[in-house]
């Protein structure tokens, strides 16, 4: 009996997740979204009346369209997908009764969690990058390849914008990772995928509400996802890196805390599913 490789290699976990319907339909949805937006603009007969809002600018070209689709999906769709991709994979195994067979295979618990976390987070990253890149392509075909005009002022040529957009996507992924970590942590405590995913989404909704309460002042800085919108900062002519730094730091901290907590909780858990 020779153990040739570590249990549950990433490729094996990837295989378990990619062929799932939730993965496939999520990606189909992501790919369809820019097309749906183009269709909606076409049906609605979007008039660029120069109000200068993001919606008006969206039809201005590939760059603005990509930013628009990213903006409209970042606040909720991507949050749900991040919670789904990272948070659902462990309780889904529990609900299929396969979790115990993986553990008896045996896959050590930390290894199991690590594989699921890595694959889940990688899926989130792929989803964001895919959405942004695909939006650029769809926008370019539908509205031409004009550079970026920031609705709050300034414009960026493609040379600058491409890099900035990549940075914005990376930042977006980083902020979503904390949602994933929360869902992941919840997933180690429950056998119901809905509880993990819904719980994480609930957390972001509650923190968004708390973020609206000005009396909390700078305490709000510590809320998960409080800095989620800051990626837009990267698209200004001059970037203020301070809030970006805050967003990255807080996201990493939340991710670390919830990940460590998830590992600790699962390590001692009695698997009864």
């Amino acid at each position: 009996m020779t153990a040739t490789r570590r249990p549950l290699p990433w490729r094996a976990e990837l295989g378990r997740q990619t062929r799932r319907r939730r993965t496939l339909s999520s990606f189909v949805l992501l790919l369809a979204l820019p097309l749906v937006v183009v269709g909606a603009f076409a049906i609605g007969g979007a008039e660029v009346d120069g109000d200068g809002t993001l919606v008006d600018l969206a039809t201005g070209g590939a760059a603005n369209f990509a930013v628009f689709t990213t903006a409209v999906s970042a606040s909720f769709l991507l949050v749900v997908l991040a919670a789904l991709f990272v948070g659902d994979s462990l309780p889904a195994e529990a609900s299929w009764s396969t979790l115990r067979y993986l553990l008896v295979a045996p896959v050590p618990r930390t290894r199991l969690l690590a594989s699921k976390l890595v694959v889940g987070l990688a899926t989130v990253a792929v989803a964001v990058v895919l959405l942004v890149a695909w939006s650029v392509v769809v926008g370019g075909i539908a509205y031409g390849w004009a550079g970026f005009t920031n609705p709050t002022g300034g414009s960026l040529e493609w040379g600058t914008f491409a890099g900035r957009l990549a940075l914005a996507a990376a930042y977006l992924v980083l902020t979503l990772v904390q949602v994933g970590a929360i869902a992941f942590c919840l997933g180690t405590r429950t056998d119901a995928p809905l509880a993990a995913v819904g719980g994480a989404v609930m957390v972001t909704i509650v923190t968004a509400i708390l973020g609206q309460i000005d009396d909390l002042g700078s305490l709000r800085n510590a809320l998960p996802m409080y800095w989620a919108d800051t990626w837009f900062e990267l698209l200004r002519p001059t970037v203020d890196w301070t809030p970006i730094g805050h967003g990255v730091a807080w996201s990493l901290l939340h991710t670390a805390v919830f990940t460590v907590l998830g590992f600790e909780l699962f390590r001692r858990k009695d698997v009864l599913s």
Partner: protein, 952 residues
């Protein structure tokens, strides 16, 4: 002074500045401590006292309501005289006073004349009334032993206040030399200027210097600007709206009649009478600044359309010209700002008091804070950033040309509609929406406004101070009142960075062009590269009472010049650096990761220590000597498991399974079979005891589990994959060589035929069960654990499984089967472990259990009554027990006797019973029921209900 204790004082005084507004701007609940008479908390002693001060003009005596906060500990302490904002009272200052006292200062608060519970009327900072009151209050401090005295009757004291309180502090310092330092926040220099602001000046400032501008004059008299009606109304209501005692004027309330009348006049006409201008000027620090000789700290807000930065600048300029030490700070708040906690996180106020009240010779050191500091424009949620400079020395940009030529601006009849440029004191509403909603369309009303744009600026810059333009007006009237504001145009967005407007009143001769310089509102903000600046000229503004006559002005604006200051950024981030918040969070992140790492390492060491491997290279294979610990493939010893709900599922369970054995784990539902197997597989942790597989202790995910195949509590598969894909996915998860899996063998066990390539979700229960057994046998594990393997299988399939398991065990491997089907176990297993209610009640080879020498089973003829022979047999010597199985089709007697079996048969025949069969074997079912009944009987606390099922 203890520095640490003063840390919070900055916040306290920052709020103090805002408390000054509270009363004019709206009801912001002040956290007023209800002090009654005498009160001690945190060692702070509070004494309330009414102090007699100068009478009113009509001789009415006046007493002020005061509170004196004395800190704990031995004095003497330096003192702080705190004065509240317009419309407020001493109660507003209770938190700040307490904070000061906790920091080691004696703090004296009072309600100013005409406010709160003090007597008298509001004279609006009249040096002759409110000013003199300060002297009376200083006398109080001079008589107090707890207060440090510089000389006899001269207390060491600072005058501190915001808004109304700030002006009174400055006026008091001019009137009474005993005041040692002044901190004046968001207050005025000249009240006439504040209410009739005139931003037109006659000449440009010299480069790099900011001398007083020359005023625009007509007939030798300075021309006042338009009436700041909105703020004046609020100011008025702040005092007039107070509680009306008997005999007070219902309109003027507690206002002094003279002051009130002048205000009512201007509200009527919109133009100031010379008497009002004289009065306002006299009720200001401006004419008294000659006598202010003590260090003065001026904190002015950039969100302040009532008392703008120009007011504090004028005070600072005049003080500096006379050699008085003065420091200026422009912060982000002001009368228009909401309470903003971060705006107040500045401890320079505490530093200032600490220095000038605590040090023995403060003058020797110089200013303890920068002479000029300002809060930088804030973007998004970035930290507050502060820049500082040694003085406010502006360097001016080259004039930026403005496009637009000459445009006509109409003043509408009656001055309506008015442009809405700024919304004063809306709790930062406009700020909040900055970046989303532009007020520009409300400001630039068609026909009533003219816009003049610069070209796009190639590089960004930070503006610090008051930008200048040259305005040329050709009016149809003898006076043109206009409002100028500086907007930033960025793509399609037009924003007003500091939400302020500069009113001008230009004396004109109809038909002739008049040219003035205009000082645009002062502030700090950043101009983005690629944006352009726009000077908007409007004929009206809703916050001002402009001329009501219709008028047409041809205006032209030229030469925008932007001031900048060379300053050091001190707080928050420099470019590329990390600010405190980021570093703090990253440090926390590091701590979390480090803790996790240490924990993991400790655990790994602990695990190695706790389970020294008894046999690192166990030699698998048949023929091992039974009994040797490591060579018994499965040993369960002393397992105990109590679930969180208190149910003890497994209680001291021990058994073992050897090579070549098929061990049956028997028991009714809820006996603890599955829980035991879960512990064997490391899925749940036992409270006590351990399971060893192939000599290794089982822990969650232990490597030795690779040599165990399992089916626990039903199979589990990925529903979206086919049977074959599931087997492959499972094997892939083990990370082992696909060649070891032995797919062909297990597919034979599964016997699914073509269905093996259909998705598992289409399978029947029996198919899933067979696939589950097949998965457990992947890789031919040395120990095969099957929990209820026959569930869902039909009789032929069950029969087919039997030889598979026996053959499997015959290869020297071990099979453990749990079941509640006794006949099945009897046929399949070589050994059984019988469990009941969490305990093992019996173990042993099946043959031993069902077959024993002292037992004889006698089968009687169908329909025979077993009772008479049973009774007869019980009477036979040597017979221990006779059990009756009253089955009408096959009545049986189970006889336990010390006699040889032939004697038993003979004795039975002698009773006349119709014995048709004799057997030595009982059915396992009988054994099982027997031992379980016995076990239940042993346990008086547990009812012997075998059907009791616990859901697990």
């Amino acid at each position: 002074m203890p520095r640490g204790a003063l840390r919070r004082l900055g916040t306290a005084l920052g709020v103090l500045a805002l408390a000054g507004i509270a009363t004019t701007a709206g009801p912001i609940a002040a956290a007023a401590d209800e002090d009654d008479g005498e009160d001690r908390r945190d060692g702070v002693e509070v004494v309330e006292r009414r102090v007699a001060v100068g009478p009113e003009a009509d001789g009415t005596p006046v007493e002020l309501d005061t509170s004196l906060y004395t800190p704990a500990g031995d004095g003497p302490h330096p003192a702080v005289l705190l004065t509240h904002g317009f419309g407020g009272s001493k109660a507003d200052l209770a938190p700040q006073a307490r904070e000061l006292a906790e920091s080691g200062y004696v703090a004296l608060t009072y309600s100013a004349r005409g406010f709160g519970d003090s007597d008298g009327r509001v004279h609006v900072a009249d040096p002759g009334y409110e000013g003199r009151d300060v002297t009376a209050l200083l006398d109080l401090l001079a008589d107090d032993d707890a207060v440090r005295q510089d000389a006899d009757g001269d207390p060491r004291v600072a005058a501190v206040g915001g808004s109304y309180g700030g002006a009174l502090s400055l006026i008091g310092a001019a009137l009474d030399r005993r005041i040692d330092t002044v901190v004046a926040l968001i207050t005025w220099h000249d009240l006439a200027d504040a209410f009739f602001p005139q931003h037109a000046v006659a000449g440009p400032p010299a480069d790099g210097d900011s001398p007083a501008d020359l005023p625009v004059v007509r007939d030798g008299e300075p021309v006042p600007g338009p009436f700041k009606q909105l703020w004046a109304s609020r100011f008025f209501v702040g005092a007039a709206g107070g509680d009306l005692g008997p005999g007070t004027d219902p309109v003027c309330g507690r206002f002094d009649r003279e002051v009130c009348r002048l205000f009512l006049d201007v509200a009527d006409t919109g133009r100031p009478s010379p008497a009002l201008l004289r009065l306002l000027r006299a009720h200001s620090p401006a004419p008294l600044l000659d006598d202010v000789r003590v260090p003065t700290y001026l904190v002015q807000g950039q969100a302040d359309s009532l008392f703008g930065l120009d007011q504090s600048d004028a005070t600072a300029r005049e003080l500096a010209a006379r050699g008085t030490p003065v420091a200026v700070r422009w912060f982000t708040g002001g009368h228009d700002a909401a309470v903003d906690p971060t705006a107040a996180d500045d401890d320079t106020l505490a530093t200032w008091l600490d220095h000038y009240l605590g040090a023995d010779d403060p003058a020797a050191v110089g200013l303890p804070v920068p002479a000029f500091s300002f809060e930088e424009p804030r973007d998004g949620r970035a930290d507050l950033r502060v820049s500082e400079a040694d003085d406010y020395a502006a360097s001016w940009s080259a004039p930026l040309p403005l496009r637009g030529g000459g445009q006509v601006v109409l003043n509408p009849l009656g001055g309506q509609p008015g442009s809405l440029t700024l919304v004063p004191s809306q709790d930062g509403v406009t700020d909040e929406f900055d970046g989303f909603v532009s007020t520009y369309p409300l400001a630039a009303l068609p026909g009533q406004s003219a816009a003049f744009d610069t070209d796009e600026l190639d590089d960004g810059r930070t503006v610090v101070g008051s930008p200048r333009v040259r305005l040329t007006v050709t009016s149809t009237a003898r006076e043109a009142t206009l409002f100028l504001s500086l907007w930033e145009v960025n793509g399609d967005r037009v924003t007003l960075p500091r939400q302020l407007v500069a009113p001008v009143t230009v004396p004109t001769t109809p038909g002739r062009a008049a040219t003035v310089d205009v000082a645009l509102p002062a502030g700090t903000w950043r101009v983005e590269p690629g944006s352009s600046l726009r000077v908007l000229v409007t004929s009206t503004d809703q916050t001002y009472a402009g001329p009501r006559q219709a008028r047409a002005d041809r205006v032209r604006v030229d030469d925008l010049r932007l001031p900048a200051v060379v300053a050091r950024s001190v707080a928050g981030t420099g470019d590329g650096g990390l600010d405190r918040q980021t570093t703090g969070v990253l440090a926390a992140l590091g701590a979390v990761l480090l803790a996790a790492l240490v924990l993991a390492l400790l655990r790994r060491r602990g695990a190695r220590h706790a389970d020294p491997d008894p046999d690192p290279h166990p030699a698998p294979g048949p023929g091992g000597a039974p009994g040797a610990g490591a060579d018994v493939p499965l040993v369960v010893s002393g397992l105990v498991k109590t679930y969180a709900d208190g149910h003890r599922a497994v209680d001291d369970v021990s058994w073992e399974a050897r090579r070549g054995q098929v061990v049956g784990l028997l028991g009714p539902n809820g006996a603890g079979k599955t829980t035991t197997l879960r512990m064997v597989l490391g899925l749940i942790a036992p409270d006590i005891g351990e399971a060893r597989v192939l000599g290794r202790r089982v822990t969650p995910g232990a490597a030795v589990l690779a040599r165990v195949g399992a089916l626990v509590e039903g199979p589990g598969f990925l529903p979206h994959l086919s049977g074959r894909q599931n087997l492959e996915a499972f094997w892939a998860a083990t990370g082992r060589d696909p060649a070891e899996a032995g797919y062909d063998d297990v597919l034979e066990v599964a016997a699914l035929g073509g269905a093996i390539d259909r998705p598992v979700r289409t399978y029947s229960q029996g198919m899933r069960q067979r696939l589950g057994i097949a998965q457990a046998m992947l890789g031919r594990p040395e120990v095969l654990v099957l929990d209820e393997p026959t569930n869902g299988l039909d009789p032929p399939q069950i029969a087919g499984l039997r030889p598979i398991l026996q053959r499997y065990a015959d290869t020297g491997r071990t099979v453990v089967v749990s079941s509640h089907l006794l006949s099945e176990v009897e046929l399949t297993c070589s050994h059984v472990v019988v469990m009941h209610a969490g305990r093992v009640v019996t173990t042993g080879p099946v043959s031993d259990l069902v077959d024993s020498a002292d037992t004889t089973v006698l089968t009687l003829a169908a329909g025979a009554d077993p009772e008479p022979p049973a009774a007869a047999l019980r009477a036979v010597a040597g017979v221990d027990e006779v059990e009756v199985v009253a089955d009408p089709a096959e009545p049986r007697l189970v006889v336990t006797a010390g006699l040889p079996r032939p004697d038993v048969v003979r004795a039975a025949a002698a009773t006349g019973a119709d014995v048709v069969g004799v057997s030595s074997r009982r059915h396992l079912e009988e054994v099982f029921l027997g031992v379980i009944a016995a076990a239940s009987g042993d346990r008086a606390d547990s009812p012997a209900d075998l059907r009791q099922v616990r859901a697990r």
